[in-house]
Subunit: 111 residues, 2 copies
DNA sequence: CTTAGTACTTGGCCATACATAGTACTTGTT
DNA sequence: AACAAGTACTATGTATGGCCAAGTACTAAG
């Protein structure tokens, strides 16, 4: 029951929402996403991101195409699908409700 | 990859935060908590709440005392400990940061 | 005594984040 | 050509927490 562990738990599911949102804004590959997440202070490692992307693809929420790179191996550039857009909408609602509910609880004064 | 599942994942850790916060406001027992969570639209079942309370107790973040009831079996009334208060402070920070980070991501426009 | 309601307990399941190690391709240096 | 370094992606195993479902124990009402 240490803090670090709870922090990990707290962002479960939210990562999926963030990634899907980033992809919805245009073609990106994994390192782009890592950069954006890091700049938003959401620390993520490769071992977390890649399996997540695989899950999203298997679920038909995103697609990718190989694009050759001038500095290294080819990259998978991801785009969101129509199903992905619909799912993202639902996630937005879910996240909004969760924020509302939580903030309602924690803003309650001593009874 | 259905919505329900993601909703479950999204609230991991957050429930712990909410419960601890509710207990910090004064003596309560499980049904009080369930009622408050439900009124905030956070649906929780017994099988989730009781193990969570046990974890919090084992971690020394909350204590309880038995109080007899006039309408049924005795109840465990929970109170927060000093350690619990400190932990709650940290969770507040964590939750605030998570909200900021997520909202930063999802408010980003198309690039 | 039986039934219903309340309060709490327990065991097993599942999905996700993570650590870690490994594969494959390209570029630059010797 | 051989090697090291950097980049991009893959695979395996672990731990945690929320949840379902079944079960125990106590009280009050019929």
């Amino acid at each position: 029951m240490n803090l670090e562990n709870t922090q990990v738990q707290m962002r479960k599911g939210i990562l999926e929402y963030c990634i899907l949102h980033i992809i919805s804004r245009g073609e990106v590959y994994a390192s782009d996403m890592l950069e954006e997440l890091t700049s938003a202070k959401i620390m993520v490692v490769e071992g977390t991101l890649y399996p997540l992307l695989t899950r999203l693809r298997k679920a038909g929420l995103v697609e990718y195409k190989w694009v050759e790179s001038t500095s290294g191996p080819p990259r998978k550039y991801y785009t969101i699908t129509d199903d992905g857009k619909a799912f993202l909408e639902s996630l937005s609602t879910t996240w909004g409700e969760l924020m509302n509910s939580t903030n309602q609880i924690i803003s309650e004064k001593q009874s």
